[in-house]
Amino acid sequence: MKDPTMCKEGHNLKKQKAPRQRMPEQDHHQRIKNFSEVPQGYTPELARLEASRCLQCKKPLCRAGCPVGIDIPAFIKLIAEGDYAGSARKLKEYNSLPAVCGRVCPQEDQCEKVCIVAKKFTSVAVGNLERFAADYERTNGAISIPELPEPSGYKVAVVGSGPAGLSAAGELVKKGHEVVIFEALHKAGGVLVYGIPEFRLPKAIVESEIEYLKKLGVKIELNSVIGKMETVDELLGNGFDAVFVATGAGLPLFMGIPGENLCGVYSANEYLTRVNLMKAYDNGHVTPILKKKRIAVIGGGNVAMDAARTALRMGTEEVYIVYRRSRTEMPARIEEVKHGEEEGLQFHLLTNPVRILGDEKGWVKALECTKMELGEPDASGRRRPVPVPNSEFLLDVDCVIIAIGTSAHPLIPMTTPGVKVNPKGNIIADEKNGQTTQEGVFAGGDIVTGAATVILAMGAGKQAAQAIDEYVRKKRPARTPAGSRRL
């Protein structure tokens, strides 16, 4: 007999120890006036209470739902037992950036989606707990530097310091290799520093992760545009045994509609870069940003939400999200949409922009849109939006931010003849180990997959590091670099 209140593993789903614990959040009236983080994190009490909701499944589905296979029950158990630093160490066995992933991973589509508890109640708050453990470790000075092996004598270059590059560098240095990250911008962190806003991912956290890598011995060369200053082939010829390309999907896409080059039209990348990386919100910084009254943000993903919520914090009176499908198709995380809505974003769904109108001086004065309705499902499985005849209308805006996606950064493929790309411009690399079409060159993250998530990029970095380690050791016998100390 099958008891409907018992799950396959025999857990009783009838009773719930406690409801899912909400993270305290900054009030929305307050938070739209600042760039501080919205969710404030669990207290140890809340974290232990939440951790106690985990059923400690023997065959945990959550773990299978995690792109990097974190031993989720194990790290949660350690929190429940009060060993927060131990929990953070457990996380770091799988994920080198838990404080980041605890904040920006789409857990509701991964680990939490398949949580057994969710069959009856709401899932265990895996992401919140991950964030708690990582934050505890960082803020309590509990970060420990692992014992490093003797220098291997191999040297690896990592191009790009975003999630894929950082995780690969961390893994490689822990294997004893000399690792140099080349970053084109003046600050390390990639999309974590130029793209994701402070209120969703405080930059201090990214900085602390980067400091940790530096303590492990990773060297970071800023202002180093590989492909221009030095090519990948030159790196290989100048003493690097392998190169990991993690240059991301940073090229902003535009819609190709009339008026896109008017003054007051931004790509989301530009708007966010000005605010996040260049700190245009602070008058002490020189980088300018337009402060407009009514902004339309085109797109329905996380980047659109980030840009729109940033615009609110920049003092914009009206911020509209213009998205051509309906709410259910929006790729943004539910939490981001909810936060945006609380903060006053206005949604124009099933609305397709067709033209940006400008004044005689070349400034945006309105956005012309068409109403849409959902038709048959398209290749992505989502119902295709089709225009409603004669439904054109004007949205009165003085600034437009385009957040319809990004594509692969072309600089490395353009300057590395041995590295082949697919028709979309993404580098062709082995899914398992990141091997590209050129020996000694590996790639991972958004440059291979197209714009995806931080955790996937991180996972790719980790896998490639393993493959690079095997590659360099096979390539030539190890030699201990001159001057290195044998212990």
Binding site: Y194, K228, G250, P252, K279
Partner: protein, 283 residues
């Protein structure tokens, strides 16, 4: 950190600064630029590399004090450091022997176009250089240009040196005289590049212009530098900075360059107290 090793004031508003940047010095080619961010609070601005010494590991930048950052840069002394310089950015000029090349520079543009003219000169082209200014005292880089051209023509608004009139009139004259021109290169203010392109277009003379749109990262990531070329949106930073002069939408470029005029005025007021800090080093 990039150390300033030499500095020269070339006019009231134009400076030359030489900076230690060995990797860029080795790699840069004519037509390329760097992105400069002076300090922690600074903005990223593109500046043309006007010369480089690969052996000394230095690059030189000639710039005009127009906005906050160029003014701040003009106050930095020999021995001071610039926090961030990245490059070389953009495509180099396609240098080859075209035949006869007319190189037109206006004001600062003469210095910015100098490396391009030099490369074309060295590639065996017959180089006719046209430089222009309002009057004789403002004519700059004459000697430098003379060394890398076969003919040097000067145009001044008042006729106090060379031809009285615009450089485009000189160009038109060359065409009218039946001179065979294979390439025109123009670096300078947008109206000059637009005017030169207008002159050469009816004759289908290949014309290269070097554009100076607003940039942030200059690596192709933000799209601030969008320009319409032949009806298509291109990125000045990674697709340029040089484009076919006959295809560029100069009107749009002019408008986009004014995006932050208000903010610039505000910053100019803020900068005033520092201006006393100018220090010059004479060569």
């Amino acid at each position: 950190m990039f150390k300033i090793v030499a500095k020269e004031k070339l006019s009231d508003v134009i400076y030359r600064t030489v900076v230690e940047a060995p990797k860029i010095a080795r790699k840069r080619k004519a037509g390329q630029f760097v992105v400069v961010k002076i300090d922690e609070q600074g903005e990223r601005i593109p500046l043309t590399i006007s010369d480089a010494d690969p052996e000394a590991g230095t690059i030189s930048i000639v710039f005009q004090t127009v906005g906050y950052t160029t003014k701040q840069l003009s106050t930095l002394k020999v021995g001071d450091h610039i926090l961030d310089i990245a490059g070389p950015m953009g495509h180099p000029t396609p240098v080859k022997n075209y035949g006869t090349v007319v190189s037109i520079g206006g004001g600062l543009g003469t210095a910015l176009g100098r490396p391009i003219t030099e490369a074309l000169y060295k590639a065996g082209n017959h180089v006719i250089a046209i430089i222009s200014a309002r009057n004789k005292s403002l004519v700059m880089f004459e000697e430098e240009m003379r060394k890398i051209s076969h003919e040097l023509l000067i145009a001044t608004d008042d006729g106090s040196a060379g031809f009285k009139g615009f450089p485009t009139q000189l160009l038109q004259k060359l065409i009218d005289e039946g001179r065979k021109i294979d390439l025109v290169v123009c670096v300078g203010p947008v109206p000059l590049m637009a005017a030169v392109s207008k002159v050469t277009k009816p004759y289908s003379i290949k014309t290269i212009v070097s554009l100076n749109p607003i940039m942030v990262d200059a690596t192709g990531m933000c799209g601030a530098c969008r320009v319409t070329v032949g009806g298509v949106t291109r990125f000045g930073c990674v697709d340029g900075p040089e484009f076919d002069g006959h295809q560029v939408d100069y009107d749009e470029l002019m408008k986009r360059l004014k995006t932050y005029t208000e903010r610039e005025q505000e910053m100019n007021q803020r900068f005033a107290p520092h201006e006393a800090g100018f220090q010059e080093v004479k060569r």
